[in-house]
């Protein structure tokens, strides 16, 4: 029955890991906060894919519910994050995470 519904779980996990790695590299390497936020979304989506894949694999619904919760959180986070980016832009702060280092100890 599982075979009829699509490929093995390993494939899904492979795609999920790839997405996560792409997102993580984006967070680590890019300096524009807008792009960093985008990369974060990609990481979250990678994680969501893994959750749903396991949910299907075990035939239980809780993973999907968890994925829905992650999406809600991700949406809220984007609202706040984009708001901050817009605010920074309006204050004419250079949009570069390497130059926002006021919290240096």
């Amino acid at each position: 029955m599982i075979a009829l519904l699509g490929p093995e779980i390993a494939w899904y996990l492979g795609v999920s890991a790839f997405l996560f790695a792409v997102g993580a590299l984006g967070v680590l390497l890019r300096r524009n906060p807008l792009i960093v936020l985008l990369s974060l979304e990609i990481m979250l989506n990678g994680a969501n894919l893994a959750l749903i894949a396991f949910s299907r694999h075990h035939g239980r619904g809780d993973g999907q519910i968890f994925a829905l919760a992650v999406m809600a959180v991700a949406a809220s986070e984007v609202v706040v994050g984009l708001g901050l980016v817009v605010a920074m832009n309006r204050k004419r702060i250079t949009l570069d995470v390497d130059r926002m280092n006021v919290l240096r100890g």
């Binding site: 967070v27 680590l28 300096r31 240096r104 100890g105």
Partner: protein, 626 residues
């Protein structure tokens, strides 16, 4: 009866609290009238209790009224209770009655002072504390009143807080009294340990001669400190730095009489420890002699009166020490009258001379203020014990009671008491002659201004007149051995141990009066006729002016070692050890913080990298461990 006692206790407290709460909303005179009224109400309460007690049988005159349980701990229990018996009612009448006159006098004396309201609030508190002391129904309440009296006296002696000497005097009084409070508290601990309670009755149950002697000694220590007897007497003359009515209150109605009251109240334990009771009599005799001698050379009018108080309290200690309790209390009462009179008459003089207290600058005031002169003369005659003034009736039986002991110790005490009577005549009339007789000095002519007939003059004049009247008639209350209502009144509380016979009374009276008159004569020859303020003998003058070097002795024995030790500890313990280790800990913490702070780069990408690499490491670890 019970209501009267509670009203008597609480009225001055209410007055003081109202003045405190009213603060600046209250007019200055309003505060004065309020507290005066509250003390008058207290006197009314005391009177109703007195009348109610008079109506009862002699055996039925002891009553304890408990408001609620105040302290409980294990099997120990103390109530907030007042004791109404002949002794406490007598003290209530003296404290609130004389206290009322003194507070009323303050209306005039303190008029125009910048902090009048604070003064009157303190006065109310002082009267309340003393009433708590004499009305407290158990030893712990007595101790509470005892401590509060010390606090109020500290506040009032240091009332003029902008004068460094007042502050020093207030601190001295407080510390000296704290010594007595401590010994008294230790005695009470011992009583609790032995009997498990602090009711007055428990004192009779203390077993074992060591415990009895220690408890009696501790209580005597408290009495000696509060009543300014040797060796804890040095605070009293310095306490003259406070306003004059405060001196009158401390000397006449409250505070220094507390020691006498304490010994009478706890006489059971003193009778069980006869050596300590003899010690009390001996200390009283020593004090009356020493204080009389020192008073001979003092030049501050208030200090002369202060030393006369020490001397008179010495007589009272002598009386209660030989077991003549009723006469000690009777002398306490008459002394309250004439000592308040002397202080307040002196206060009028000081007031009229722009706050000058040095008797060498005074003179000739009889011509300028004849009525004050007569009042002062009455007080002085009462103090010396010349009939028919109050002191004669109360002091001479005390001298006789020393004789009635009929042993060597008693004879020594008797002789000392008679010498004291002579000294009293000399120093009292030295002061009187120097202040009032002769021609007005240049200083007096320049500074004198008479009292006016306004509130100030009336409040000061009228109260002095009442006290002068009391000093004349107050003594007739008891004329032993002919009629003795005070003895009968106090018999149920404290049975006297000695009973002087008629010839002992007679010979003591004749000798004491003769010696007092001789003292007055000597004072006249030395100071009235020649007007020389201090004797010429250098050694005696120096010794007496230094008050037998008690202050210097305490300075060398306690103060200097304490300072020396504190300096040594500061140098060798605090600086290297305590301050050093604190500084070390602080430095180390700051260094460590500096290292950790470098981890906070403020760069978002470093944090993200740290998280990612940590995750990677964890993943590897999990895989490997699995």
């Amino acid at each position: 009866m019970v209501a009267g006692a509670w009203i008597c206790l609480l009225a001055p407290l209410v007055g003081a609290l109202l003045v405190t709460a009213g603060a600046n909303a209250l007019p200055r005179r309003g505060a004065a009238y309020l507290v005066t009224l509250s003390v008058l109400v207290a006197f009314g309460g005391a009177l109703t209790s007195f009348v109610a007690l008079l109506g009862r049988d002699a055996d039925d005159r002891e009553h304890v009224s408990t408001a609620w349980t105040w302290i409980t701990g294990g099997s120990y229990r103390s109530g907030l209770e007042v004791l109404i018996d002949p002794l406490s009612v007598m003290m209530m009448l003296i404290v609130s009655g004389v206290g009322f006159l003194i507070v009323a006098y303050s209306i005039g004396y303190m008029d125009g002072d910048r902090e009048e309201r604070r003064y009157f609030a303190y006065m109310g508190l002082f009267v309340f504390s003393m009433l708590l002391l004499v009305q407290g129904g158990n030893l712990i309440l007595l101790l509470a009143g005892w401590g509060m009296v010390g606090l109020s006296s500290y506040l009032l002696i240091g009332f003029w807080h902008e004068r460094p000497r007042s502050i020093a005097a207030a601190k001295k009084a407080f510390v000296m009294n704290a010594v007595g409070d401590a010994t008294m508290a230790l005695a009470l601990f011992l009583v609790i340990q032995r009997t498990g309670t602090l009711a007055f009755g428990a004192l009779g149950d203390v077993q074992g001669s060591w415990a009895v002697n220690l408890v009696a000694l501790g209580l005597l220590g408290g009495a000696v400190a509060k009543s300014a007897q040797l060796p804890l007497q040095t605070w009293l003359p310095d306490a003259m730095e406070g306003p004059t009515p405060v001196s009158a209150l401390i000397h006449a109605a409250t505070m220094v009489t507390a020691g006498v009251y304490l010994i009478v109240r706890t006489h059971v334990i003193f009778e069980a420890a006869p050596k300590v009771q003899d010690l009390a009599a001996g200390l009283g005799a020593a004090t009356l002699l020493v204080a009389g001698l020192i008073a001979l050379v003092q030049v501050d009018v208030k200090r002369v009166i202060a030393y006369s108080t020490m001397s008179q309290i010495g007589y009272m200690f002598l009386a209660v020490g030989v077991g003549e309790y009723a006469n000690g209390m009777f002398h306490l009462m008459t002394h309250a009258f004439f000592k308040a009179l002397l202080f307040m008459a002196a206060g009028i003089v000081i007031h009229a001379l722009a706050a000058e207290q040095d008797i060498r600058k005074m003179g000739g005031l009889k011509q300028l203020m004849p009525r004050v002169y007569w009042a002062f003369l009455i007080g002085a005659l009462a103090l010396v014990g010349i009939p028919p003034f109050a002191g004669f009736f109360s002091k001479d039986p005390i001298i006789a009671s020393a004789l009635a002991r009929s042993d060597g110790y008693g004879y020594v005490l008797w002789v000392i008491a008679l010498v004291g009577a002579f000294l009293t005549g000399v120093y009292t009339f030295r002061m009187l002659f120097l202040v009032f007789l002769g021609e007005p000095s240049a200083f007096v002519r320049e500074h004198f201004h008479a009292l006016k007939r306004d509130v100030v003059g009336v409040s000061m004049g009228a109260t002095v007149a009442v006290l002068a009247l009391l000093s004349v008639i107050g003594g007739w209350l008891q004329f032993s051995p002919f009629w003795e209502p005070v003895d009968t009144w106090l018999e149920t509380v404290a049975e006297p141990l000695v009973n002087p016979s008629g010839w002992q009374e007679a010979i003591s009276s004749i000798l004491a009066v003769a010696l007092g008159l001789a003292g007055i004569g000597v004072a006249w020859v030395l100071y009235g006729a020649k007007r020389r303020a201090v004797p010429r003998s250098a050694f005696w003058q120096r010794t007496l002016e230094h008050k037998f070097y008690f202050d210097e002795l305490y300075d060398a024995a306690f103060y200097r070692p304490a300072v020396w030790m504190a300096r040594a500890l500061g140098r060798f313990v605090e600086q290297p050890l305590i301050a050093g280790s604190a500084r070390e800990v602080g430095d180390e913490t700051r260094d460590l913080g500096g290292v950790l702070a470098r981890l906070q780069t403020g760069l978002l990408r470093t944090y993200a990298l740290a998280i990612a690499s940590a995750l990677a490491v964890l993943a590897v670890v999990f895989v490997v461990v699995k």
